[in-house]
Symmetry: C2
Subunit: 227 residues, 2 copies
């Protein structure tokens, strides 16, 4: 027998969840930056290139912030991101925008759905994480700019509406499929939802997905599109 206390297992598990969560967010923000900035140069005007460049740089700044958090936790950011690279790369490969409008729509949908997912995750964690999640949200100003720009494009070219509506459904489908898979594979649900495995947790995961879809539908409605 020893007098040493038992290892703080729960803290340890919680720490691993926090690391994984930051790693997931960091890699998503990094890839959002790379993809968006690649697409920026196909913008119809220099003004649009400017705006997309600024959006992309904001994603990189989110990434940098998450890397700093990981480093402060004594974690190698590359190691923390690695478990998520294949899943996130796969989403990007399956959602390659066909043109500039689809690229803008992808930023609109993915940034918002990811943001909702991050927020759900942060509820299960402490104030530090919640603060980080708030900081990596796309700003209201930038979201408003994207929404207005999409509305304007649809007004100028009405057939674009049905194409973007279809594209939006594809995007949200891919995002939720991967979110669910990542949650399953990395044991996120236990932390996010607090319930043990089984039918109850499955129902809760489904309810979370339904909330994400509902919020997505509202945002599509704000573009005048049916989700």
């Amino acid at each position: 027998m020893t007098d040493l206390p038992p290892p703080p297992l729960d803290e340890d598990v919680r720490g691993r969840f926090e690391t994984a969560f930051y790693g997931l967010m960091a890699y998503r923000e990094l890839t959002a930056f790379e993809r968006l900035s690649s697409d920026a140069r196909f913008s119809p005007t220099l003004r649009d290139r400017d705006a997309l460049g600024r959006l992309a740089v904001a994603e990189f700044q989110h990434y940098e912030l998450l890397v700093e958090r990981l480093t402060a936790l004594g974690v190698d950011p590359q190691e923390a991101m690695r478990p998520f690279t294949a899943a996130i790369d796969a989403v990007h490969e399956r959602t390659r925008p066909g043109d500039w409008h689809e690229s803008l729509m992808k930023a609109y949908v993915f940034d918002a759905v990811s943001g909702d997912f991050y927020r759900a995750g942060a509820e299960a964690l402490d104030g530090d994480v919640r603060e980080a999640v708030e900081t990596v949200q796309t700003s209201e100003d930038q979201t408003a700019w994207v929404r207005e720009r999409l509305r304007e494009a649809i007004a100028e070219d009405p057939p674009l509406a049905s194409r973007l509506a279809l594209w939006g459904r594809r995007l949200v489908g891919e995002a939720l499929t991967q979110a669910r898979r990542i949650g399953d594979e990395h044991g996120f649900w236990r932390h996010l939802l607090g319930s043990p495995a089984g039918a109850e947790r499955d129902a809760q995961v489904t309810a979370l997905m339904a909330r994400l879809v509902e919020r997505h539908s509202r945002r599509m409605g704000e573009l005048g599109l049916t989700a």
Copy 2:
């Protein structure tokens, strides 16, 4: 007859040169950002992606600074950039990197040659412009990182040396051809070199190009490559 003084023609011409110069730099920095961030995702490691992302974001920050300068002068940044888009896009189309190392080499060569060209331009302008030019230089730290990363890659894969040496010659050739053309078409030499048109100016332009090549050769030498 009127008592009004003659219009300040020289100031006006100088102001147009300043605007053009900022416009040229702004568009180059914007495109450097777009191209480099597009290439970043082909980096061999997450660490390289991180570093290239940071380099790209620094180029965007230079672009933003130049846009602010133009705006402060009462000039529409888009209008100021427009005269240079075709020439700079053509350089990029003619120098599409075949892989990640060529992309890194392109950043190494173009950032430095452009920096030297900007500095030559700033000498003909006042302190404000010189200060702006200093601010948009790639930082010593970043240049050092690129140089070390290229050296490391060449050490790991010696045949890369001859490919990158060839690529470096191609890059500097394209950069100088376009610099000369832009200088001719936009009447830069008169301001940069102060001499009237004719054989004397031609000789001075050639001497400026020779200085740019010499500095480029020194940088290639620092990689262990022959320019």
